[in-house]
């Protein structure tokens, strides 16, 4: 290996070992954490995934060589990371074992004496390969030249040294290993038909583990209160990291739901705020189940209590982003971060406050007794379909108006993988795109898009003013269009939502069929996966027949839902209780049975037509 570490002044070389998922999020997270730590990060080597939309991540290296000012800064950064597993002081690297030995001797021999007397252990971490016990011992013994004399401790040693190996991806080797069966680790039989040596090796001294344990701690399955749209814990935590959540900062989620993003941000120290158009989520009257909890615990606040984060929950309120009460254009901008997963209305269509066809008379509506309807306690404000693009604009414009300079906006957005249907990253002249991370599924992806609010200084000048004017004109045009579609009468929400339109028209039937095929055999397993659910269903429904139908419906629902909003685990079945006060954001729980039945009936009809 030609690269040597001896001539690097003031900077140390480190190896980050990542977990296996979410490759395109890794650098965005690490760079954000370096920014939070106020540390300069230099990425020396990182090979991005072969195909950006590939869900096969097995060829993606989990090792990244970085330079950082100090051991303590490496620790500071990685100890907060969700996607990394650990960070190691890099003692050497090479394309073969002997080259690694050479490099360790050349670059790190000045360090040997420092650890001579420490308690230590060596371990082997083989990526896409595996080693027998004996091979591991041989590998480790090969490093006896470091001359450590301290006692070896397998448990809690002062220093841990790891030999990392990266093997060429070999499907045959991987599958033969898997055939060895669960629980029985097959060390002996490994087919190395295509490669007999790893293509790259590293030696590192462990500096710090990451915060991956938080994924388990915040696991949705253990959370008191979740909904059909809760983001899985790992990605909610990553979102908080990428948006620079940190102690003392003020964060806001305008589509807060049951509070997954603010929880993650609060965990990292932020004081958090949230709002939602559906007040039932905030109050806990949504009818979403949370296992055995008492109703008063099943609310957003309850979640904060569960994790001991109530002291960082600022406030939540009921509001529509298109008519937000947050002050703008007056006083100082006050938010450090905005994080959200907007309701794209994949199933139901997006809705905001207002009439589909506004009445000609704009005065308050009055009931038969002359009382203004909106002053009655049971008043339900009407909602109307809304455009996907306009909502994105609302979010960007809102963020621009409320974020402090360099404050960050991170939001999730679905898109189709097909180039023709791909939805471009929304732009705003005052918001600079920092990172776009993609979580690919088979036919669509969702992206985490992060922006930085430009400072006033950055935005001076004629060009930007022109950009702004152009942008605002575009948005006015979009609003006009939206009104035309809406008032044109009777047209579908699809017209307003390109993702929904593209997705449903091309994929719907195939997905339902595929889902039914693949998931029906899994029916029996459902009971194990969702014991509460199966139990509830059994207790509440007497007849086996209807239970079967319901479970089948549920399986279809889960599959569909996984396909739309993957991993937002839905543990709702008996979710028909809709509170009277407000109509829900996405009436999933309530409408699922009927809309799904309708969908399936449609599919069947289409299918039978085709057969004829």
């Amino acid at each position: 290996m030609k690269e040597s570490m001896k001539d690097i002044n003031g900077k140390g070389d480190f190896l980050i070992r990542f977990g296996q998922a979410h490759e395109s999020f890794r650098l965005a997270e690490i760079e954000a954490l370096a920014r939070i730590a106020g540390v300069e990060l230099e990425v020396v080597s990182y090979s991005p995934s072969v195909k950006k939309t590939s869900i096969n991540s097995s060829s993606q290296t989990p090792f990244t060589h970085v330079r950082l000012p100090s051991v303590s800064s490496a620790k500071q950064i990685i100890s907060r990371s969700i996607l990394a597993q650990s960070v190691h002081e890099l003692w050497g690297q090479g394309d073969s074992l002997s080259l690694l030995h050479d490099d360790v001797r050349k670059s790190s021999s000045h360090l040997f004496a420092r650890y001579e007397q420490a308690t230590f252990r060596f371990s082997v971490d083989s990526f896409q390969g595996s080693r027998t016990k004996k091979e591991q011992v041989d590998l480790i013994n090969g490093f006896s030249f470091v001359g450590f004399e301290g006692p070896i401790r397998m448990k809690d040693p002062e220093e841990t040294f790891t030999i990392f190996e990266e093997w060429e991806f070999d499907p045959y080797r991987t599958s033969s290993r898997q055939e060895g069966g669960k629980g029985k680790k097959s060390n002996a039989v490994i087919n190395r038909s295509s490669s007999t040596e790893p293509k790259k090796l590293y030696l590192g001294r462990l500096i710090s583990h990451s915060s991956r344990y938080l994924i388990t701690q915040f696991d949705l399955k253990k959370r008191a209160y979740i909904s059909t749209t809760s983001m899985d814990a790992e990605l909610a935590l990553v979102t908080a990291n990428v948006s620079l959540a940190a102690p003392g900062k003020l964060f806001y989620d305008p589509f807060v739901g049951t509070g997954g993003f603010p929880l993650a941000a609060a965990n990292f120290g932020a004081l958090v705020f949230g709002s939602d158009i559906d007040g039932r989520a905030l109050r806990g009257t949504a009818g979403w189940t949370g296992g055995t909890l008492k109703p008063e615990e099943r609310c957003l606040r309850g979640n904060f209590e569960q994790y001991g984060l109530k002291g960082r929950l600022g406030d939540v309120w009921v509001a529509d982003l298109a008519n937000s009460p947050v002050r703008t254009g007056r006083g100082e901008r006050w938010l450090d971060g905005i994080i959200c997963d907007p309701p794209y209305g994949v199933r139901e269509g997006l809705r905001i406050l207002g009439h589909r066809n506004p009445p000609a008379d704009p005065s308050p509506q009055v009931d038969e007794n002359g009382v203004e309807k909106h002053k009655k306690p049971d008043f339900i404000p009407p909602k109307r379909p809304y455009s996907f693009h306009l909502m994105l604009h609302d979010i960007l414009q809102f963020s621009f108006a409320t974020l402090v300079d360099s404050g960050r906006l991170s939001f999730w957005m679905p898109t189709a993988n097909d180039d023709d249907l791909e939805i471009p990253v929304p732009s705003h002249p005052g918001m600079h795109v920092v990172s776009v991370c993609t979580q690919p599924f088979n036919k669509w992806s969702r992206r985490l898009i992060t922006y930085r609010r430009r400072s006033a200084l950055e935005m001076e000048g004629e060009t930007l003013r022109k950009d702004f004017e152009e942008y605002m004109a575009q948005m006015d045009e979009a609003r006009r269009k939206e009104r035309d579609v809406r008032e044109g009468g009777g047209r579908q929400a699809d017209e307003l939502n390109p993702f929904r339109k593209a997705y449903f028209s091309t994929e719907r039937r195939r997905i339902v069929e595929e889902a039914r095929e693949t998931m029906t055999p899994a029916l029996g397993k459902l009971e194990f996966k969702y014991p509460d659910l199966a139990g509830t269903a059994l207790e509440s429904r007497g007849e086996e027949k209807s239970l079967y139908a319901e479970v089948l419906n549920y399986v279809n629902y889960v599959v569909l839902y996984y396909l739309y909003k993957i991993e937002r685990v839905v543990v709702v079945m008996d979710g028909g209780r809709v509170a009277e006060d407000e109509s829900p954001r996405e009436d999933l729980a309530a409408k699922e049975d009927s809309s799904l039945a309708k969908l399936l009936a449609e599919e069947r009809a289409v299918g039978s037509l085709k057969e004829k």
Binding site: P325, R327, G331
Partner: protein, 127 residues
């Protein structure tokens, strides 16, 4: 709803945004309570400069807390005076409106607060 949050919110009606009378909203018929919050001087110094101090004084006065000085304390003041900091913490973050309403001084619209959660959804004639 916390006193701090009241400083960040105004009337949701678009036509009111440009009117000085719409901010701050006026709390009426309120029931107040106190809930412990994490004492976080770092957050306080962070958001202090983002507060509209005159609006905060008005809100505090209307709620019966008349102890705020005319001038906003500086970060240096607060860092040297933990008592002052804790008083502000108590007022801004721990004191909250459990129920009542928030009234816009411009359009007169009333936003209800129930169980500590304010509802800013507008009837369609105001959207």
């Amino acid at each position: 709803m916390k006193i701090l949050t009241l400083n960040f919110l105004t009337c949701a009606v678009k036509a009111c945004k440009s009117s000085a009378a719409s901010y701050p909203l006026h709390p009426q018929e309120v029931e107040l309570a106190k809930d412990e919050m994490e004492y976080n001087p770092q957050a306080m110094l962070n958001f202090l400069l983002r507060l509209d101090w005159a609006a905060l004084r008005m809100t505090a006065t209307e709620l019966g807390f008349a102890t705020l000085p005319e001038e906003m304390p500086t970060a240096e003041d607060l860092q040297q005076d933990e008592l002052k900091m804790r008083q502000l913490h108590e007022l801004l973050l721990e004191t909250h409106v459990v129920s009542g309403k928030l009234v816009c001084g411009n359009c007169g619209h009333e936003y209800g607060i129930k169980e500590g959660i304010a509802n800013f959804l507008l009837p369609s004639h105001l959207v």
